[in-house]
């Protein structure tokens, strides 16, 4: 049975590194009606930050331009959040390879190659696809603890 959608949010931001903290804070604030735990919010912020970093660093090659747009769309269906982060950047030629731990295309930089691994670990579900017209779409889902479980679980 499909869960009932209770709220949605969509925003666009230029692919600038200074927008990363704004983006993760905005997605976290969107979930505040679920009364999430501190850990749930920290997990979510970390995963969103990884996806937005990929857009800034890889998709748009650190151009830091106002013309390079990242779209962040969120949907709350009962206790489940879906976050879709999409760009129209260079795209990923081999998505499976890109998602391998420690894989990075940046040869001379200090990049860990762990972005997708962190997203996988901190969210319940992630899928990475090519965006229509070029670029990448990362879709992540997280289930939040229900109020009743929080009380009985602690």
């Amino acid at each position: 049975m499909n869960k009932k959608i209770i709220n949605t949010m969509s925003m666009t931001i230029p692919a600038k590194s200074e927008n990363e903290s704004f983006a993760r804070a905005a997605v976290a604030a969107f979930c505040s009606s679920l009364d999430p735990t501190v850990d749930e919010i920290s997990d979510l912020k970390t995963a969103v930050s990884e996806a937005v970093t990929n857009c800034v660093v890889h998709a748009y090659q650190k151009r830091q331009s106002n013309d390079d747009i990242i779209t962040i769309a969120c949907e709350l269906a009962e206790d489940m959040l879906t976050v879709k982060i999409s760009d129209h950047g260079v795209g990923i030629p081999d998505i499976k390879q890109a998602m391998q731990p420690f894989y990075t295309t940046v040869k001379d930089g200090e990049r860990s190659g762990m972005g997708f691994t962190v997203m996988q670990s901190f969210m319940d579900k992630i899928s990475v696809n090519n965006n229509e017209g070029g670029g990448t779409v990362v879709t992540m889902q997280k289930n939040f603890t229900k109020e009743a479980e929080k009380v009985s679980g602690e």
Binding site: S21, S42, T46, T53, G109, R111, G115, T117, V118, F122
Partner: protein
Amino acid sequence: MEVLTKMHRNILYISLNGELDEKTAEYTRLALEKCMLQANAGQIVIDLANLSFMDSTGIGVLIGRYKKMKDRGIPIFISNPSVQAERIFNMTGLYKIMPKIKGAI
């Protein structure tokens, strides 16, 4: 991001205060490098108690500093990571090269 340092005996204690992500990575990298090279320390402890956010970009910054200090034979230790930082450290194996220690500045 604020990088604070304190020298005690021959140990350089570095406290990272703020958020470590793509925005602050370059500044943090340069600030860490500068204080590590100037200190003439035998060991370095990076304290994360006041690091309110870190993503995997931070791993790149830390591993880069490890490589630089390894050439000089100076070990680096990590203290007080957040739950999220700890998980990223464990999945990347960072503690194998920069062990976690107890204690604060």
